[in-house]
Symmetry: C2
Subunit: 248 residues, 2 copies
DNA sequence: ACCTGAACACCGTTCAAGT
DNA sequence: ACCTGAACACCGTTCAAGT
């Protein structure tokens, strides 16, 4: 009859379940409390704030990404594996991109992941700031790609468990968007074309295409120009610490 | 003494100013009302919801991106121009990425932009679904790149006009993140290295590097493999309409 | 040490009532 | 036609009080 004892881990777990099921706006301290049979304010004993909880949850799912062993594979397969792993992870937890966009995220698992990414592009032959540039490029591509997924995800959520009123409002938005698109030839072409070959039917294919192009571009860059040494740059997305330096 | 008359345009403009100054969480109907010397609820006469207002504001800033004339430039400069223009726009309006991540965005200006993007990669020589793939790849790279910028942006905002209490909490988070990073060799290296060569000092360079690599990859793909015809795919980020098809 | 309940300062949105 | 004010159902967070 009684609930599980509260703990940091249980709270994080419940938060992730809530986020996976309902997205970023589905997470509130009160609903978290309901789910754990506790007062919303009980969470504050274990977690300093909602923002902190979001950092902990983000770092937790970051741990799901398996990291390649650089001694056993060449840089390109390692890069593809990491990008693929990250892509799979954010596909399972679309809220992560939203969270990442609205506040800094850090933690042990993310740091380990970032460190390994840099190692991959060191091994590829980049030096100096271009290590960070190459890593950032791929990382950004993956996250950007997930952006589209997370919006269509939240849209579907609003459509499925919408409160009737908001449901019809979303429908109306879709109509409006469609109407606008029909006024532009290429968008119209795609709206009228067979949808079964669209993104929804093969979401992986589009990702693979882009990833290959990005890696091709990086590989081309290594081969055509043995790079001169230079200083390191801190990529802002891999390490948001940098954000504090330009402060007053 | 009296305020400007209310109108859709004025409301959108004020919303953008609020968003530019304080980010997504700085926008509330009540604060918008304050800024326009009106009741928060007065907005609902011109705008159906906050979400709708965000769509209008997003579409408005999308209009700031200048589109290249495809009859006057080759595809690669057109692609670079569009990517650069989009990048500049989201740098000036970092909240757009957050908005884009949390809800669908559409409108005339965005549709025109999307249509032109597709035209660019048609001109490049892609056919069928790969037109959409190529367009999506570059688009995603730009948006992903902006993701990092928008988080460091909101971080700086919290640091500068923080309520003392939250300010020290952000400081503490930064310390914590730093401490974690120091446990990983490559991150440590970068933290201890000279910061004046970091991302903050040359944010453009990192973008240019990545963009060149992405375009190199796409160019390589066109040249090495004359592509077979196939059906169109609707990229989910260019056109979120697709999200409604897999619904029950 | 751990948790609750009331309270505070916010939200988006609806709707009757005013002009 | 346009706007206000009160009200409702939510938020995150603090803090005294309980066990």
């Amino acid at each position: 009859m009684s609930r599980d004892d509260l703990s940091k881990e249980i709270i994080i777990q419940a938060a992730i379940e809530l986020l996976d099921a309902e997205g970023l706006e589905g997470l509130s301290m009160r609903r978290l409390g309901d789910r754990l049979d506790a007062a919303a304010t009980a969470m504050y004993w274990y977690v300093t704030s909602k923002s902190h909880l979001l950092i902990l949850a983000s770092n937790e799912v970051w741990g799901e990404v398996v990291l390649p062993d650089l001694d056993r594979v060449d840089w390109r397969t390692a890069a593809a594996d990491m990008a693929g792993g990250l892509h799979r992870m954010v596909s399972q937890h679309p809220w992560l991109v939203t969270a990442f966009a609205s506040q800094p995220v850090y933690g042990e698992n993310k740091a380990r992941h970032d460190d390994r990414i840099l190692a991959v592009y060191e091994k590829a032959g980049f030096v100096g700031a271009e290590v960070d540039d190459a890593a950032t490029t791929v990382f950004m591509f993956v996250l950007g790609h997930a952006l589209g997924g997370s919006t269509s995800d939240s849209l579907n959520r609003q459509l499925s468990r919408g409160s009737g009123n908001s449901q019809s409002r979303v429908q109306q938005s879709l109509e409006e968007a469609k109407e606008v698109a029909l006024r532009f030839p290429r968008l119209r072409e795609r709206l009228e074309g067979a949808t079964e070959t669209g993104y929804g039917s093969a979401p992986g294919r589009s990702f693979e295409f882009g990833l290959r192009a990005v890696l091709d571009g990086l590989e081309h860059r290594i081969r055509t120009r043995p790079l001169p040494p230079s200083n390191h740059a801190v990529p802002v997305a891999l390490n948001t610490l940098q954000a504090c330096t330009p402060c007053p």
